[in-house]
């Protein structure tokens, strides 16, 4: 197993995937860019990240487990406790065997296909729909954007490709684990979603159960194009194991009267840096971010959102909820930018942080750049300690201290959790309890 990154490795990856020349070239350019760009010195501390020690490419024979039986009992147990369906458990553990979901979701895939909806892995997308991919790939997040985007472009593998034709409204959420991958490559996932005019789609990735990973660096890139009048919601539940650096670039281009919603829950990882963005380029475009971050012992979650207003009458809303406990640190870092001379722009930011104990930490770094005199920008930030009065109130009704605290925390997260698909909301609530108390029972 070779460590570190090299031209040979990138060439090998591209060759194994049998890619078109333009993609191979793009990967090589991105590699050069990666090598010349500085490591970010803002946000979370990345100075301990040993770039040369990382396995950038896990060949199929080097995957952590080849069967469900090899998955550590601890991982299985948590999945059971949180109530993750069996089919999903295997996927999350990185077992590459075929699974039940083929049968379960077969009919869904069929009905999507009838409407002309494409939902496949990015690798399949590039192979089967090369023109669409070539047209949009790297347009929203070019490799020169940041060091991690360059790394992802050089080494991407897996991720989803979603194309929704004009006017098609996809009723059920598209869930990433529906995809049958011949390989699991969560390390440098690349996702591209195109919603044509007047269409709508809800994409869901991740799961609330801890996702075991043998790779210590994950750098995904997500690009979303929301055409006029279309609506996209992108829901993430991230719960990587506590050894993972999770450095993600997510960005959407939102056109005239279109709507983009990011729902982002960050529970796991060692370090997370993630600031999903909306480029509001068309008049009347709306961007939204609802996020949850929970930081426990040794974790630093540095997350937020960017709303870039580039057209008249655009609006955005950011609601960020964070919990710091057991010595964890969560930071909100967000940006609202309004281009000069725009009219009718509205933006609202609400940061709500809950600190559970004396050893935990929460910070807020808002950055508003407003070049328009008429823009209405609201910013509210709240930092609160877990209320002893509320705890006492609930205890007087018969709940133990622990039950009371779990209930208060769930209540605090409720505005965002209410936006999740039902099964995820249930899992997330169980997980919050598991993180706070060590059991779900």
């Amino acid at each position: 197993m070779k460590k570190g990154l090299s031209e040979e490795l990138v060439a090998e990856l591209s060759a194994v995937k049998n890619e078109p020349e333009w993609m191979r070239k793009r990967r090589m350019e991105a590699l050069t860019q990666f090598e010349t760009m500085p490591i970010p010195t803002w946000g979370a501390d990345l100075s301990q990240l040993k770039w040369d020690e990382i396995n950038y490419y896990l060949r199929s024979v080097e995957r952590p487990y080849k069967s469900w039986d090899e998955v550590p009992g601890e991982v299985k147990q948590v999945m059971e406790q949180v109530g993750v369906p069996q089919a999903e458990q295997a996927y999350l553990a990185g077992v590459t065997t075929q699974w039940e979901s083929e049968k379960i979701y077969g009919s869904l895939k069929e009905s999507l296909a009838k409407q002309g909806v494409i939902f496949c892995s990015m690798d399949e997308g590039l192979r089967d729909y090369p023109e669409i991919v070539k047209k949009y790939f790297g347009k929203i997040v070019p490799y020169g954007d940041n060091k991690l985007a360059a790394l992802n472009t050089a080494m991407w593998s897996g991720g989803s490709f979603v194309y929704v034709p004009k006017g098609v409204k996809v009723e059920l959420p598209l869930q990433a684990y529906f995809r049958i991958n011949s390989e699991r490559a969560g390390q440098f996932e690349r996702t591209l979603i195109i919603a044509e005019e007047g269409s709508s789609v809800h994409y869901v990735e991740g799961c609330s159960a801890p996702a075991y990973s043998s790779a210590s660096l994950h750098a995904a890139v997500v690009e979303v194009i929301v055409k006029p009048g279309a609506k996209v919601r992108y829901t993430t539940i991230q719960n990587w194991y506590n050894n993972v650096y999770n450095l993600v670039t997510k960005r959407a281009r939102v056109e005239t009267n279109a709507k983009m919603e990011w729902v982002d829950c960050n529970l796991g990882s060692y370090v997370t840096m993630k600031y999903p963005a909306c480029l509001l380029v068309g008049e009347g475009a709306h961007g939204e971010m609802l996020s949850i971050a929970t930081a426990s012992a040794d974790q630093h979650i540095d997350a937020g959102a960017k709303m870039i207003h580039l057209a008249n009458n655009t609006s955005s809303r950011i609601i960020s909820k964070s919990i710091s406990q057991k010595g964890g640190r969560s930071s909100y870092r967000g940006q609202v930018k309004v281009a000069p001379g725009l009219t009718g722009v509205k933006a609202k930011v609400v940061c709500d942080a809950l600190i559970m104990d004396e050893i935990s930490r929460s910070d807020t770094y808002p950055n508003n750049q407003v070049m328009s005199g008429t823009a209405q920008i609201e910013h509210e930030a709240y930092v609160s300690k877990l209320s002893e009065e509320q705890t006492r109130y609930l205890m007087s009704k018969g709940l133990t201290k622990e039950e009371a605290e779990v209930m208060i925390v769930r209540g605090f997260l409720e505005p965002v959790v209410a936006e999740l698909p039902m099964e995820y909301a249930v899992e997330l609530n169980r997980l919050v309890k598991l993180e706070m108390t060590g059991s779900v029972g």
């Binding site: 209320s387 009704k397 018969g398 201290k401 039950e403 209930m407 208060i408």
Partner: protein
């Protein structure tokens, strides 16, 4: 039979002594009024019985149904059958009345087999205390008026009737209709065998409730 026995109870908040040696016995199956001026220690006494750990118990003993109450946590007391309504009930954002009702019953070891039936029962109780049944979905006390919060405090007692009910200024903030309704419910619980202590500034309210035995608290003592 005595349900509650308080012996030589002395309680302080910070430097200040609020209760200065109470001796009091409460008979089972009775309803007692407790009145007194502001600052006489009525609420402190209620909070001591509830298990507010911020209060410093300097001396004394409290026995409830033969159990040493002062060694029990607030939730243990609630589960043992003491319910103290709050004078200023706390808002708990994001926690619905429905969820808390469910958690309260589960904490008492009750199984809820049919959630639809449970919701209907809860809605019935809400209607009974004069709150819209849609409140089941609302966050506990959040955005509710003082009077509505007081009604809700009583609803929790109806949901799981205690052995000893202590109503701390349930009448403040309530309109006339609300006070009447409280009266009806108090007597309904009384008929079920619940022992009740009603704390109020207003003797009239206690009289209107038909309470015969009224105690007065003054400067931290009961007369």
């Amino acid at each position: 039979m005595k349900i509650l026995t308080i012996k030589n109870l002395v309680v302080s908040v910070g430097e200040k002594r609020i209760i200065g040696g109470i001796n009091w016995e409460v008979e089972q199956n009775t309803i007692i009024g407790l009145t007194g001026k502001n600052g006489s220690g009525k609420t402190t006494l209620a909070q001591v019985l509830m298990g507010n750990e911020q209060l410093q118990i300097e001396k004394g003993q409290v026995t409830f149904e033969g159990k040493d109450l002062l060694t029990m946590s607030a939730d243990e007391r609630a589960k043992a059958g003491i319910y103290v309504s709050w004078q200023q009930p706390m808002a708990v954002p994001g926690v619905s009345i429905f969820s808390l009702a469910k958690a309260m019953l589960m904490a008492r070891g009750e199984k809820i087999n049919n959630l639809v039936e449970f919701r209907e029962n809860l809605e019935e109780l809400l209607t009974k205390i004069g709150l819209p049944k849609e409140y089941a979905k609302r966050s506990v006390n959040e955005g509710m008026s003082g009077g509505e919060r007081k009604r809700l405090e009583l609803m929790w007692a109806l949901l799981s009737p205690p052995i000893l009910l202590i109503l701390d200024e349930i009448d403040s903030g309530l309109d006339e209709e609300g006070r009447k309704r409280v009266g009806q419910i108090v007597w309904e619980l009384r008929k079920q065998g619940v022992t009740i202590i009603v704390i109020s500034h207003y003797r009239e309210f206690l009289h209107d409730l038909g309470i015969k035995q009224i105690m007065v608290m003054d400067k931290g003592k009961i007369k």
